[in-house]
Symmetry: C2
Subunit: 348 residues, 2 copies
């Protein structure tokens, strides 16, 4: 391996001069700088970022913990974050929490791995509230942290999408079109059961938003009309059963994965959308526009930008003492998957 010593020798300068050349230090003459660069090119020298990290006590690495569900979502977010952080001279160490294994332990492993790698900061989506002590330790060590998509630790920055609002909007939209028997398909509670922050805001936000909208219209809520589906499993049969049980006029699908299963379930039962069953789904993925489905669209790019900006601000200490919590509003993209029951029944 070619080191700054080799370059120094060839350029007939000292190692500190080589170092200065590559750090755009002011205390170096153009003449020496040129000599250094010439020698460096000749030898194929690149400064060793590992050595620099050790010396500087700053790695220039940001850890990103992703999960293996919701691929599309996280692939976009990570691209945005990488690009924003690269512009500030940081690189991205990516780690995955795979679903279904021991959540808490795996998250702890990933956090510790990133800390052992001496990441200057960590951006992650909390899976549980139980790693509080690790988070606390990291905070003391001065590791910058941002949680995205879920809020588990009140003391660190967060950027989330207001899923409660999203569910509220979806429900309201359906109510306005005359639907009363609405089936909410949300994700398994177990993701949220550990993430109850004071105020209890984040215990299955979709259910909360749904209830709120229904209550505002004075529509009674049957227990069976809110369903929590296991993640990473084909939920078609469960959905079919429930449809046949409560005969909803509309379905709200809480994620694109659920929507996929729900659409297939409807099709397999011979129900057409929107003629037999109306639908509103979360996540504006490709198939939503292709199938003309009304969508609660998540501002995915913005999540990435804000998470990145939040990280940078912390690293630059441009920060108030208290954590910043950002909640992004989803938008409803209205297409042709919701039938207006008022028109048909002349109820309006």
């Amino acid at each position: 391996m070619v080191t700054s010593r080799d370059v120094a020798k060839l350029a007939k300068v000292s190692v500190s001069t080589v170092s200065r050349a590559f750090r755009e230090d002011v205390y170096i003459s153009e003449e020496k700088k040129k000599k250094v660069f010439d020698a460096a090119i000749q030898l194929g020298y690149t400064p060793n970022l590992v050595a620099r990290s050790l010396k500087n006590q700053k790695s220039g690495v940001i850890g990103l913990i992703l999960t293996d569900i919701d691929n599309i979502f996280f692939s976009i977010v990570s691209r945005v974050i990488e690009s924003d952080l690269k512009r500030q001279g940081y690189r991205l160490l990516v780690t995955y929490n795979t679903y279904n294994s021991d959540n808490m332990e795996q998250e702890a492993d990933n956090l510790n791995l990133l800390s052992a790698s001496r990441a200057d900061g960590i951006i992650f989506t909390p899976k549980s509230i139980k790693n509080q002590s690790i988070i606390e330790r990291f905070r003391k060590q001065g590791i910058a942290m941002v949680q995205m998509y879920r809020l588990a630790y009140p003391d660190i920055d967060s950027v989330l999408i207001d899923d409660q609002k999203g569910a509220y909007m979806a429900t309201k939209h359906l109510l306005q079109h005359g639907h009363r028997n609405i089936l909410l398909l949300s994700i398994d509670n177990s993701i949220y059961q550990d993430i109850r922050v004071p105020g209890n805001i984040y215990s299955d936000p979709r259910s909360e938003g749904y209830k709120k909208a229904m209550q505002e219209e004075g529509v009674p809520i049957a227990d069976a009309s809110m369903m929590n589906l296991p993640v990473l499993m084909d939920a078609r049969e469960m959905i079919k059963q429930r449809i046949n049980e409560i005969k909803p006029t509309a379905i709200i699908a809480g994620t694109n994965l659920i929507a996929r299963d729900a659409i297939k379930a409807c099709k397999e039962q011979g129900f057409s959308i929107p003629n037999d069953i109306s639908m509103v789904m979360f996540d504006d993925v490709d198939f939503a526009s292709l199938l003309d489905i009304t969508t609660v669209s998540q501002p995915i790019n913005e999540i990435g930008h804000i998470a990145g900006r939040s990280m940078i601000d912390q690293l630059n200490k441009n920060r108030p003492n208290s954590p910043l919590h950002v909640s992004l509003e989803p938008i409803l993209i209205s297409r042709n998957s919701v039938r207006n029951l008022y028109h048909n029944a002349d109820k309006q």
Copy 2:
């Protein structure tokens, strides 16, 4: 920051003993090991991977260069690779080539960044053949390398999908159903123009496979029936124009992005699939099964596993001298987007 010295002091041993404890060295007694771990836990000590990297001349980091197109594809691949490499004690530094800017220079920047980070290996999708000299230098430095999805450098390991075969299968399938006027929508040649390896195998493989199948059946190929679409651009209008120009009975969409635009184009023109126009698309994404579209499915997970395995083998020097080139066969998933013209016209 708590270091091995601190732990040594508290455990009343030397720093080398601490080091030995954490590397599962044989030359350490259980008794001392326990003392070390106790002290480490008490202090919250984690070995500093940066320092270890510097000393060992081995970072334990693998660089992964992704592109920002084909999100779904790469998000799956990176998850598989991360998981396989983590199991071998490596971590993943992820970088993106954004499309549309200067391909070659950006690729060079990313390669150099990874090399500066002293990545032990690099997995990437070549964008151009022009960084040969960098690749050559890395090889000499002993950086393990794997190219995936495209073969640009004959001297380094590759794992690709046989797109030519895929296009051949798609075309053959349509021919067998009586189609003769088939429009191939492929990606912009510019991606491939720099990636012509000896034998010229990789100059727009989809076109090659298409031509081969057509020629085997003795069907003449009109120039207008092969179209190369720009990436990252709404191609609907271009597609509509071409459809109206040549009135194809079937379309082959070379990627899921192209398929998305083609489906919309058909719908907007009032053509239904498969009644008016048949379709076969590449990539078995969600909307393919939802819309019941026949698909050339890429073994995405396998690409990741093989790339990871190839990397590990290189790192462990379990390798012959010559590079390994793996080509994966796509599979045709037959659904209901291809109309059988023989049945209708009684031609059979």
